[in-house]
Amino acid sequence: MKPILEIKNLKTHFFKKEGVVKAVDDISFHINPGEIVGLVGESGSGKTITGFSIMGLVDAPGKIVSGSVFFKDTDLRNISPEEMQNIRGNRIAMIFQDPMMTLNPVLRIQTQMMESIKAHDKTISKQEIYNQCRDALGLVGISSPDERMKSYPHQFSGGMRQRVSIAIALLNKPDLIIADEPTTALDVTIQGQVIFEMQKLCKESKTALLWITHDLAVVAGITDRISVMYAGRIVEQGSTDKIINHPMHPYTKGLIKSVPSKNKKGEKLHQIDGMVPAMFCLPEGCAFEERCNQRIEKCKQEQPLVTKEEDGRYLRCFNAGVNYAK
């Protein structure tokens, strides 16, 4: 099967006064049609910039330095802004974290929704567009969509607003949706509802989904594959089952062990000491070396390269094989 999105050695750097911030540094991954892939990392690990790089939304002082982003057969880095416009919002859609910020507060929901169809297809009649939009609202579980089409964003709650952004993302039946922390701003019960809708819709329409989050637990239940990012690099990548149940990279292991519910009540949580290094003075060797409990001499001097393991996962570590059995 040909992947719908293939990223190869992508580097997105920010050129600042203080130095070069390597927000995304040499990452490669792919997404197959209809697949749900999770991109997990702490804040500042470059996961959002990865999403922005795919969508062509990186602003100065940021720049994609090298690498390629293939969407089907086109390299998104080599096409004109007009062609990119055609793909963005049409073939690839993005859902952002904060549903309060993504909708225009002075436009009715129907105006905003209809706009996104009109921008890509000028031939359909207004009535047809309206019908499509209304159906999309109904599809994401908003009751009485006809009335709701006339509302303004402030008349919706956070969860409803996120549903509207999901509906807008789905309007043009994209091949790929990039969801950047779509449930982080929501309550637990509403988060469950949104995850449920996304899962259902992607399955029904065979849309591929890149789910960007800091929360391993959220992606554990819904994704097919997971990539774990740390300081701008993907440190481990593989099927969800392998990553969650048999992690190999010390960072992934630490992350999984530090999730509260997995530990016994009242006992000490496993903690990863220290904190993420400052992005404009990354160490020469592995960025995780300082916090790692499996480090060896080599880690300090050399950057580990991506290796492909026997079970199909990709890994960036010199010493991952040790303590495999925990």
Partner: protein
Amino acid sequence: MQNKILEVHQLSKKFIKSLDKTTKVINWLGGSYKEEVVHAVDNVSFDIMQGEVVGVVGESGCGKSTLGRMIAGIMPITSGSISFKEKHYAGFLDNQYQQNHSIDLKIQMIFQDPFSSLNPRKKVLDIISEAPIHHQLISKEDKKNFVAEMLNKVGLNNDAMARYPHQFSGGQRQRVGIARALAVSPELVVCDESVAALDVSIQAQIINLFLDLRKNLNLTYLFISHDMGVIEHIADRIVVMYLGQVVEIAPTNEIINRTNHPYTKALLGGVPTLDTTRKMYEPIKGEIPSPLNPPSGCYFHPRCKFATEKCKLEKPSYKEVAPNHFSACHLNDQNS
């Protein structure tokens, strides 16, 4: 039997949005606009024992922060009473709010956002020592030694005291916030979403710090969070709130293994876990209703899949379904 450290009895908080001039004039001319009243906390009663960690969970807008603020004594209460070691302390109604230093100092609060809860123009040295100096717990000469000791307790280096809050990361700032709360040697600490703004790996560090401090300083916590995973891990007893009311109170093991209230079930079921086998979520329907006009009867009935006619009409009362396990649900009447 342990001693009660805090007793909250029928505590309520109302927020009233008073009428503006135009509506007052319309009312004077015969209109019938009413003031909008939000019952942020409605008749909440529970106890906290010495050395216990009580977790409060609920969705946003259920009044858990308001509850924490009233207990910490930084928000006046509307009715009901709070007593600390059998002394009433915030039993003053609105407008008559007075301070009671000896008790106020024993209850301290740690806030959610480590970025906005520290004064950006003060050095850590002054942030931590301000309260104890004001209350004459330490002398000005001792300031440095005292702050060094406090920083040591929360796992920061001594050189942190000469720095400003913006020079720290989120996790370190939260540590400074904890040191500030501990500086007046409190007995009860109210943690309002204290780990919610932190990354997973840092969150684990701070939770461990809370557990260590509890052991070393014999602290009691009221731990407010929306994250069931965190609460499950740290709390001895859990209070579940919905729309300003307590729907279920029970020891942690009891509430996890024998959940009684449908809302608690929904909360527990909605938590994503590291389980890779469960592939479909089954969420509860609907959203938290507006507290301005809550539903009749049981507040949860529009979202509850077991709702009956009775739920729409009558407010359920608390029943002890098992020892120390209280729940407010009509379903318990039918079973017994």
